[in-house]
């Protein structure tokens, strides 16, 4: 059954409607941001599609500014928009006590065109997804195991209008696939997302993942120690997601904490490591502008290992005396803060097999799990390896290994990188709207598995 794949809010006349509301509030300036998402997800496990979901969500968020003080009011449908403008204006007025605040809205500027629509994603409907889920579960069963995963498509919509003339609208397709195959004690995981469903290469990704689970049986523990490791794209992307915590956010830079504040221009990683926040790239989830209506630009985080810039929104850019890079974000239950939402690492030229071939003894890690910052100063994180991990011996994958805890500095790891893969994959960033990290496979050295040694004390 093919289902309608329509924009969360009809685009015709949308900017005019938002513009009229923005100008009617009586505040010094008003910004209205529509975030919409029509998502369909076919989630499967245990031999069935256990969670088919068809979710439409819209939010109209109004930011009103009075005497430099800002307040926001959001509603779920356009019916309440004018009331939201009134509420935000009233709250902003209540916050203005005679002193002048710093809040502003974006200056009108053209956003760069990026390719957002793919017909193949529009065609990735419930019937296709159910068929793919069924085939995946059957293939896993044939291999003696089982599969759990999710295939989905979505339409993401953003519109930003200000009373000062900003007017942007974007409607973007999104396709996502993820799978965990389990055979005996062997597991393998795959995740990828793209504006285009075809880019997921779904059938071969599923087949490869099941084959890896078969190969991953009879796992042995990882002895504590330091290893040369080859990280698959997902594990590598997980580490890159922590760069922001190391000081690439405008909030930390303004507080004079972290790498950009303390070590801008210094080399902290291997020359092979070039990472940017780049929402204009063709991978991940490109988008042309942020929630404040600022056109996004590529922000170099590490260029050949050298510390670059922080991502900013209007407020942190003002504190730093720069222009916003277009990274405004509001996470749920958190204060608004700029976020590196589209992290992309430059690819190298090696295959994973070539990276592995250069390792006499080490570990291949497909997926990390539950990674958390331990120490901001050293960018040390902890977590566990989870699926698809193998010992490497004499340049080849050898015995499968069980998940193991690690605690290691991502900067220490990135400083040892001596091999970068050519193929990249993308994954979502938790709690970040339209967030993605795109990474290649990486090879580095001295990576610490196991807890800190008691005898080191």
């Amino acid at each position: 059954m093919s289902t309608e794949f329509a924009a969360p809010v009809a685009p015709d006349g949308l900017l005019d409607r938002l513009g009229a509301a923005a100008k009617a509030g009586g505040a010094d300036a008003v910004e209205i941001t529509l975030l919409g998402r029509a998502g369909e997800y076919t989630r499967f496990a245990g031999g069935r599609v256990h969670q088919p979901q068809d979710i439409l969500e819209t939010q109209y968020s109004v930011r009103a500014i009075v005497d430099g003080h800002a307040a926001r009011a959001a509603v779920g449908t356009v019916n309440g928009l004018d009331e939201a403008v009134r509420r935000a204006t009233t709250a902003a007025r209540a916050m203005a006590h005679g002193d002048h605040g710093n809040a502003t809205v974006a200056t009108p500027a053209a956003a760069q065109d990026v390719v957002l629509w793919h017909d193949d994603t529009a065609a990735f409907d419930a019937a296709q997804r159910a068929q793919a889920a069924g085939r995946t579960m059957r293939e896993a069963e044939k291999a003696g195991g089982h599969a759990a995963g999710m295939f989905g498509r979505a339409l993401t919509q953003i519109a930003v209008v200000t009373s000062t003339g900003v007017a942007h609208h974007a409607l973007a397709t999104e396709a996502i696939g993820s799978l965990t195959a389990t055979v005996g004690d062997g597991t393998s995981h795959w995740i990828d997302l793209h504006r285009s469903a075809a880019a997921l290469d779904l059938a071969s990704s599923v087949d490869r993942t099941i084959a890896e689970a078969v190969a991953g049986q009879n796992r042995i523990p990882v002895p504590d120690g330091r290893y040369t490791i080859v990280l698959g794209p997902q594990a590598a992307g997980e580490l890159l997601g922590f760069l922001e915590d190391a000081g690439f956010s405008g909030e930390l830079a303004a507080a004079k904490v972290g790498l950009v504040a303390q070590r801008a221009g210094d080399r902290v990683a291997s020359p092979l490591v070039t990472v940017a926040d780049d929402a204009l790239a063709t991978v991940g989830l490109p988008i042309g502008f942020d929630m404040e209506g600022t056109p996004k630009r590529r922000v170099p985080l590490l260029t050949n290992g050298v510390v670059g810039e922080a991502v900013t929104n209007l407020a942190t850019a003002k504190a730093l005396g720069t222009a916003s890079t277009g990274h405004a974000h509001i996470a749920r239950e958190e204060v608004p803060t700029p976020v590196a939402a589209n992290i992309v690492m430059d690819a190298g030229d090696a295959t994973e097999a070539e990276l592995i071939a250069g390792v006499e003894r080490g570990i291949y890690v497909q997926r990390f799990w539950y990674t958390r910052l331990v120490d901001r100063l050293t960018a040390t994180i902890t977590g566990v390896s989870r699926d698809g991990c193998f010992l490497i011996e004499d340049g080849k994958l050898a015995q499968p290994v069980a998940g193991a805890r690690f605690t290691h500095s991502i900067l220490d790891f990135l400083s040892t990188v001596d091999g970068v893969g050519a193929a990249r994959r993308s994954q979502p960033v938790m709690n970040v709207w339209n967030g993605s990290v795109t990474a290649p496979a990486l090879r580095g050295h001295g990576f610490r598995f196991g807890s800190a040694k008691i005898e080191e004390n």
Partner: protein, 491 residues
């Protein structure tokens, strides 16, 4: 006017009509259907050192309809902009179930007696009636107290409130109307200097603390005096000695115990994880369905229960999000696994008891197994001082700094913001960068004693699960507990 008289869905009779219009749309074509109609409004005010304050209020209203057709689930959710949206959601849910006909194992729900009723959070002072300027004056005062030391590089203070009308109806005849309200506060201080960066937080280290109560809850937190304390402690940590490595006896404070419960008890006991439904994302569990009733999870001192009927917490309610009446269930009873956190689907498939833990993030997401108010029963350990005295030499730690656990909820590593050396039962030096690790059943098996009811505190948490990820809002409570021979200094 009460704190629950607001918005479009305060009227139960109106909400019931909307729900029934959705159910009528699929009448006769489903084995089962339920609909949740929810209006939510959330207020957040923040103040930050060196930045403008932020104020936001967010409202949404929508309907989520779940159907079971020929053994296959279907689900659709829509914002409620027009009268026709409820029926549209029901039609789409039906269509998505029909699209799966014959595609996999069938779901059969055992019949359930209908349960209807109304529930309201007790509120003394409506947080939404507090003046905007007054809220920000309060935040400015907290921020001022926290940031007095020069080494404070960043600080955030915030207050939050959320009110919800949650209406439920199903084809078995249940009609439920819950009017919830919660209020919370947060403070985080970051100090930098002496070549280090340290943070302190209050009253909870993760998004502050939120209770099922009104503005009166803030008075119980004594934010002003605690703001000054955590500011000073953040600075003191910069020059504090690092915590050692090895094995030691440790008294863990209530906040850190609450997170330990969340990660290693609550998640491990979610029945959908146990059955493999979350294998692709959130993970599985080291506990198997067949372990219920026999597995030794902890020492005799450890009794952990789920009880959403206890008022005043972020996990308090009268009915879960698929209409099961709330009740107390002992999850771990004197160290033995007795129950799981279950939904109708997972309970039916496993043959285990239904404990009413189906919860969803508003109207837009499917109910899944989440914690409710899951807490460690207070023990006979007396006061915190008595517990320290019982320990003798060791460490007292509290307030989570970092947390990580594997996908089976077995191998964990936590760090705390503060640690104090304890000698002969007396707190001594402040230490920084304390961490500990272990394996869940061994850890809980090493709990020698739990402090008494006078030390019990509840903490409201957000939690993430599912694909697409949804948030759960829940509560964990604990008194401090004494753990023997814990591996410390693992980070």
């Amino acid at each position: 006017m009460t704190a629950h008289e607001w918005g479009a869905l305060a009227d139960d009779a109106y909400a019931r009509r909307v729900l029934e219009s959705a159910l009528d749309t699929v009448d006769g074509r489903v084995q089962y259907a339920d609909a949740r109609l929810i209006e939510c409004e959330e207020l957040r005010s923040y103040a930050q050192l060196g930045a403008d304050p932020d104020e936001r209020i967010e409202q949404n209203v929508g309907i989520g309809v779940r159907v079971l057709v020929d053994g296959q689930w279907g689900f659709a959710a829509r914002p409620l902009a027009a009268d026709t949206d409820a029926a549209a959601a029901a039609r789409q849910a039906h269509a998505s179930a029909v699209a799966l006909a014959g595609s996999g194992k069938r779901v059969e729900l055992p019949p359930r007696e209908p349960a209807s009723g109304r529930y309201e959070t007790e509120v003394a002072q409506d947080p939404f009636a507090v003046d905007t300027a007054a809220r920000h004056e309060l935040l400015a005062a907290w921020l001022g107290a926290a940031s007095t030391p020069a080494e404070v590089a960043a600080a955030q203070a915030g207050v939050n409130a959320k009110r919800q009308h949650r209406h439920f109806a199903d084809t078995e005849g249940s009609r439920q109307h819950q009017h919830l309200l919660e209020t919370g506060a947060m403070l985080v201080v970051t100090a930098a200097g002496h070549g280090d960066v340290q943070r302190r937080s209050y009253p909870n280290s993760f998004h502050g603390n939120t209770a099922g109560a009104g503005w009166e809850y803030l008075a119980s937190l004594a934010m002003q005096e605690n703001a000054a304390r955590v500011g000073q402690e953040a600075v003191a940590l910069l020059t504090a000695p690092a915590a050692p490595r090895g094995y030691a006896d440790v008294v863990i404070g209530a906040q850190q115990v609450s997170l330990q419960i969340h990660e290693s008890s609550g998640h491990a006991l979610e029945l959908d994880r146990i059955l493999g439904d979350e294998a692709n994302y959130a993970g599985t569990s080291f506990i198997q369905a067949s372990d219920v009733g026999t597995l030794r999870y902890g020492s005799d001192a450890v009794t952990i229960a789920s009880d959403p009927t206890r008022p005043g917490t972020r996990g308090s309610f009268a009915f879960d999000d698929e209409g099961t009446p709330a009740r107390r269930a002992a999850l771990i009873d004197r160290g033995i696994v007795r129950n799981t956190l279950s939904t109708r689907d997972s309970a039916a498939r496993s043959g285990l008891a239904l404990t009413g833990a189906a919860r969803s993030d508003g109207w837009a997401y499917l109910p899944v197994c989440f914690s409710t108010h899951v807490y460690l029963e207070p023990g006979d350990g007396g006061s915190l001082d008595e517990l320290l005295d019982r320990m003798g030499d060791g460490y007292y730690i509290d307030d989570n700094r970092s947390w990580s656990i594997d996908n089976q909820r077995l191998n964990f590593q936590f760090g705390t913001e503060v640690a104090y050396e304890v000698k002969k039962g007396r707190r001594g030096r402040l230490l920084k960068n304390f961490s500990y690790g272990g394996v869940t059943p061994q850890f809980w098996g090493s709990v020698e004693a739990v402090a008494g009811p006078s030390e019990f505190r509840a903490f409201g948490y957000p939690c993430g699960k599912g694909e697409p990820k949804q948030w759960g809002f829940l509560s964990h409570g604990a008194s401090p507990m004494l753990v023997r021979d814990l591996r410390i200094g693992v980070a």
